[in-house]
């Protein structure tokens, strides 16, 4: 048995990718609800806003419309923001895990914007508010059941010290 020919094939290129230190962009991103600063008893504190006013509203499956309960929480947020004018806020929109990653990002953007629009309608300057979507990337509750999903379909108003964004 003889082989007819041996064909030399071009040399393989070397592997390229090498993770290198120091090339990563500065960190940022992951904003949870954030630990509240100040005492809960202080009505001008972030802690008071989170616990007494309520920093989040919840949504039904695949919805971004605000329930009457959500509207009343957002009204209270707006009242607090009017009084505490030094704060700005980033509104995070979140989804539960029952959806594709990209769709949930878009859905989270809708939810954050629904909360934002309501606050603006209550007289909060749009320049004090920004929105961000986390899709299903940052669930609060981690069981795979409706009890957890209901808590994860949320828009959270995260206060930032300092006026203007």
């Amino acid at each position: 048995m003889r082989v007819t020919s041996m064909i030399a094939v071009a040399a393989l290129v070397g592997l390229t990718a090498c993770a290198q230190d120091g090339l990563f962009p500065p960190g940022g991103g992951v904003n949870g609800p954030g630990a509240g600063a100040g005492a809960v008893g202080d009505p001008t504190s972030m802690a008071y806003f989170q616990s007494a006013v309520g920093d989040r509203v919840l949504f039904p499956v695949d919805q971004s419309t605000l329930s009457p309960e959500a509207q009343s929480i957002l009204s209270a947020q707006a009242a607090w923001l009017r009084t505490n004018a030094a704060y700005t806020a980033i509104i995070e929109g979140h989804a539960d895990e029952q959806g594709t990653r990209e769709y949930n990002l878009a859905l989270g953007a809708r939810r954050a914007n629904a909360a934002r629009d309501y606050l603006v309608s209550q007289g909060i300057a749009a320049t004090r508010l920004r929105t961000v979507t986390y899709g299903k990337e940052r669930p609060l509750e981690i069981c795979s059941a409706e009890a957890c999903y209901a808590q994860n379909r949320r828009a959270v108003t995260v206060l930032q010290a300092g006026a203007g964004l």
Binding site: M6, A8, T16, A17, E102
Partner: protein
């Protein structure tokens, strides 16, 4: 079940997949399909012959890569060396075909590995049709640095696979993905890259920001992905060689995600959310203003070009639920292609142009499926608590995707499945992993 079988058979037939068998009757090597069940082709891949003691490890390891590649397709079965009657001790000696026929080896791969004077590995190999007692194609020789020995095995396997199935191969390819760690409510995500079989994992980013859904450029040299480095989702471009990352740049109040390259590698199509509304945009990667391709109050996302660049498939909930639509690459009125029950997302056009892979949600389950580009012949390939994000092998025969398990300890992993629905496998990764994107065949 019967329908699934028929669908699997149809898929195999439509791909023109030839299966080897009938060797006893003296026919050529080809794949035989019996009642929709493919009998894996018995193949013998003895350890390659080492031309010198220094090449012994490579000779053994490269043959193992070839065996693994072929077996992983589900189309081949490797005959264990313990069953061999002949041993291949010399690459140039005649093959004793009777010894390989006796163990029913339909195909035989022999090889030799030597170390060149410049330190590079040289691999020669031959493929034989045992029952025809003839070589199948010409012998080939590859040379490469020792560090890339695995790629030489993949190259050999690609040639063997291609000659027997008539399809182009897919083993000498890479996968960029998201490596995950940490608890479900504080998951850390890093971009990583690996060989298609899970070997040679390298990290491309650190864990300081959430990163999502990387996508290869058509030549595999760059990656588009979404990062939260600025605090907001934003599309980035990464050069795989230098690991340099560049934000494409969000406008004021804009969030961008779900990017993909156009087939010429010069444009990106992606989603942009402004004031809660998500639409699809196109931009040149060397600068210039974005072009808006959709303009609707509904969600438009997950765009993917047809390989000829003329059309874009995407998902939209304009009908009330997520469905798949195809539009011209310049925008305009889209036509809906999905029509079954449930919701459809993350459509991806096959590199062959013949199918669109997608994620489907129906009755509480997630599926990976494929359909013709007009929406016909829908077939679901998988079913689980959460399957999503298909990506095509370079030859359009295999799909990788993310499968995530339920519950507090739920984790993501990368799986692959043949587009016939057969051969579901978990792709090994060092830890939990998601969002795979398959490169083209490497040069």
């Amino acid at each position: 079940m019967t329908r699934l079988f028929r669908a699997a058979l149809a898929a195999v037939l439509s791909l023109g997949l030839a299966l080897p068998a009938l060797a006893q009757s003296g026919g050529p090597l080809r794949i035989e399909i019996t009642q929709g069940v493919i009998e894996p082709l018995p193949v013998a891949v003895p350890d390659f012959v080492a031309a010198s003691p220094q090449a012994a490890a490579a000779a053994r390891d490269i043959a193992q890569v070839v065996r693994d590649d072929l077996v992983n397709t589900g189309l081949f079965r490797a005959i264990p060396s313990s069953a061999f009657i002949s041993q291949i001790t010399s690459f140039s000696s005649p093959v004793q075909f009777s010894d390989w026929k006796a163990i029913n080896a339909q195909a035989l791969v022999t090889g030799e590995v030597s170390l060149a004077s410049d330190g590079r590995l040289v691999v020669k190999f031959r493929l034989f049709d045992v029952f025809a007692e003839a070589p199948l194609g010409q012998g080939l020789q590859f040379a490469a640095t020792q560090a890339t020995w695995r790629r030489m095995g993949h190259k050999v396997a690609d040639v063997v696979y291609s000659r027997i199935t008539g399809e182009s191969g897919y083993f000498d390819s890479r996968v960029v993905f998201v490596s995950e760690s940490g608890p479900k409510n504080a998951r850390q995500k890093r971009l990583a890259i690996m060989d298609y079989d899970g070997a040679n994992v390298q990290f491309l980013t650190d864990a300081s920001s959430i990163v999502l859904a990387p996508r290869f450029s058509p030549d595999g040299s760059r990656v588009l992905y979404t990062s939260y480095a600025s605090g907001f989702p934003e599309v980035y471009l990464l050069d795989v060689g230098s690991v340099r990352q560049t934000a494409l740049g969000n406008a004021e109040g804009e969030m961008t995600f779900a990017p993909r390259f156009g087939p010429d590698g010069n444009v990106a199509v992606y989603s942009s959310s402004v004031a809660g509304n998500t639409d699809i945009y196109l931009r040149r990667l060397n600068g210039g203003a974005p072009t808006r391709l959709t303009s609707a109050p509904s969600i438009e996302t997950a765009p993917s070009f047809s390989p000829d660049g003329s059309q874009i498939v995407f998902e939209s909930d304009r009908s009330g639920t997520q469905q798949l639509y195809v539009m011209s690459a310049s925008g305009g009125e889209p036509r809906r292609i999905s029509s079954g029950p449930g919701r459809y997302g993350t459509p991806v056009w096959s590199p062959r142009g013949d199918y669109i892979a997608f994620t489907k949600q129906n009755e509480g389950r997630f599926h990976i499926g494929v359909m013709r580009t007009d929406g016909s012949e829908e077939r679901l390939l998988t079913s689980s608590f959460l399957d999503e994000g298909p990506t095509w092998s370079p030859n359009g025969r295999v799909i990788m995707f993310t499968r995530e398990t339920a519950g507090e300890s739920g984790e993501a992993a990368i799986y692959s499945v043949d587009i016939s629905g057969r051969n579901l496998r978990r792709v090994p990764t060092p830890g939990p992993a998601s969002d795979p994107a398959w490169s083209p065949l490497l040069p």
